[in-house]
Symmetry: C2
């Protein structure tokens, strides 16, 4: 029986989920307020705000399963859906991942390394926290932070006042500086029966707080770093009773993995899997939430993903680069807005190296970036 | 600038073209009379007959380029489109491929081997042809034959009368028997500038006149058989001024390639390329017709495609087979109707062989077949 899948959110993640669902015979509906939501091309839209209870009820009634493009789902919204359709991931996955403090407490409870941090609810607490944690450090709101928003860097205790204003006195977390050599992430997908699959560890480079490039794989399948990252992510998913894709962001500190945060969903750092893996994170998320067996990931093709932010290079120029695959989101370019990505895959002998072809894509992306 | 692509026909080929076009930011519209056309999920439908001139005009006006899911396009239909939108493939590609006689004459004019044949317009001519060609032979209508329709096998000259009735006295071609060891096909994609790419030679097995399985690759990239097949297909495409995908069906007669027929479009024997190649026949057809650079095919992953005909196995059972990828068409199963396909890909050591995993898929497909 083909399932009907509902998605809260119809941006690029919803769009790529729906594109992955179509070949499985799974029809998608989604709620999104934008008449230009990227998923509209491949799924049925209910044009309404994410918190519109009537719209969420309609979505649930149209769907066998409801999933999410983002984690910041309110309790009333969740209640409107639950009881009418199966919800995946679990409410607990959403609750923990939308709150940096709960997240860090979960990591600690599992015995995983995190950066030193303090919960901060007042300016006084912030000043004390800065003294305890030291500088440089970063103040982050507990909720609703993404793409560098709701974050402010603290160089000395004198910055406390400005920083506290900048997070609008929201309950926050002060994080100590992590002297990392690189930022990594791993995406795993967990099925309802507790089985799971893991994608290769991915190295991420950010630019102005927004993911710029992701490269994978970076270590062999049986490398201790890969195994440890997957162990961490799977233990978190097990603890949450999570079903679907889950991304774990990590800092590599001289071979030690320090946990940064999770996203209980498909993740930008997993976009390379569309072209680099036999079953993408999008298809495996869909398979997991509708109860289909997960798909094989390998043989993996080494891939570099380049985000297109704020502007679009000419498609013809991008695709003239051998091994470049274009993924556009049908969104109007605006400064700081992700409007597509390019996956550049390994082609083997006779072609320029992956790194040099990726550099050409990065140059095109940067030239059109705003 | 993102192009708007029109497709005449919205069955599985139109659907998979639209799915491949979406990530390129290309919006598709299509004309199809069926309210259940498989492409409706991922493209905008104009619900009308393929020969409805108003609908074709509307499609052309909505589109920068118009392409086809099938070759049997009438001259008035083509005229309605041409002048309003760029048409790809060329009218000559369509004209030749919708007529078995013109097709064979083209192959011969290029010096390529074909089975002995005679054009037949009357019962008398048929009887003479049977005497000249010998038996067994096959009578095929010149036009509108597919999936074993419009074909009748002739065992002796006594079958002439019955055969002639069975093709309804339509202008036909009598083809001599070809004692082939296997049926092959090659899909090439030609760009407007004359450059092209070729997919690996594919071995096809039919069942009751309908493609059952396709396997590729079957020879190394630089094998003379591969090179010769591609040479033939490219020469034909050049001669036709063809733009887009073109499939050439061949008989392997002890290492000699005998040309059977062409399809000026994406082809069922190329469905394996979705999972086995870095850029599928669908994406490369789209790229070619809208004028984008063609995409790299390799590294190729050995793949077996299994058609789902007349019935659907349980998705969960199919996907429980490692390396199996499901492609459903959102069509109601009916006897003899293609409703989906499964691509089974090579997974490497530690997993069962491709052949044995494919056999499990074939068993599921056959059990649900009608």
């Amino acid at each position: 029986m083909a399932a009907r899948l509902g998605i809260v959110g119809g941006g690029q993640l919803g769009r790529m989920l729906a594109l992955a669902a179509a070949p499985l015979g799974i029809r998608c509906s989604f709620v999104d307020p934008s008449p230009e939501a990227g998923a509209r091309v491949v799924a049925d839209q209910i044009e309404a705000d994410f918190e519109n209870i009537d719209a969420l009820i309609e979505l649930s009634e149209r769907s066998d399963i409801v999933t999410f493009e983002f984690e910041n789902v309110s309790a009333p919204a969740l209640e409107a859906i639950a009881g009418r359709a199966t919800v995946a991931p679990s409410p607990r996955s959403l609750e923990v991942s939308q709150d940096r403090l709960l997240e860090k407490q979960l990591f600690e409870s599992l015995g995983f390394p995190v950066a030193p941090y303090r919960a901060v609810a007042t300016l006084d607490q912030l000043e004390t926290a800065i003294e305890e944690i030291g500088t440089p450090s970063i103040l982050k709101t507990r909720r609703l932070g993404y793409d560098g928003k709701g974050q402010v860097r603290i160089g000395s205790v004198d910055d406390a006042d400005h920083a506290w204003k900048s997070v609008e006195s929201e309950p926050s977390v002060l994080e100590g500086h992590v002297n990392f050599s690189r930022e990594l992430s791993v995406v795993i997908v967990r099925a309802a029966d507790g089985s799971g699959i893991a994608y290769p560890l991915t190295e991420n480079v950010h630019l102005a707080g927004i993911l710029h490039t992701s490269k994978a794989p970076i270590v062999p399948e049986d490398d201790p770093l890969q195994l440890r990252a997957v162990e961490h992510a799977m233990a978190i998913a097990d603890e949450l009773g999570h079903v679907g894709a889950l991304a774990l962001e990590l800092f590599d500190v001289e071979g030690e993995l320090v946990l940064n945060e999770i996203a209980p969903r498909v993740h930008n750092s997993g976009h390379w899997t569309i072209d680099g893996c036999r079953t993408s994170q999008f298809e495996n998320h869909v398979r997991a939430v509708v109860g289909l067996p997960l798909g094989a990931i390998g043989p993996v093709l080494p891939t570099m993903m380049v985000n297109l932010v704020g502007g679009l290079p000419e498609s013809a120029e991008v695709l003239a680069i051998p091994g470049a695959h274009l993924h556009l989101y049908d969104k109007e370019p605006r400064a700081g807005r992700k409007v597509g990505h390019v996956n550049v895959v390994e082609l083997g002998p006779g072609e320029d190296s992956l790194a040099s072809r990726a550099a050409r894509v990065i140059a095109l992306a940067d030239a059109s970036r705003h």
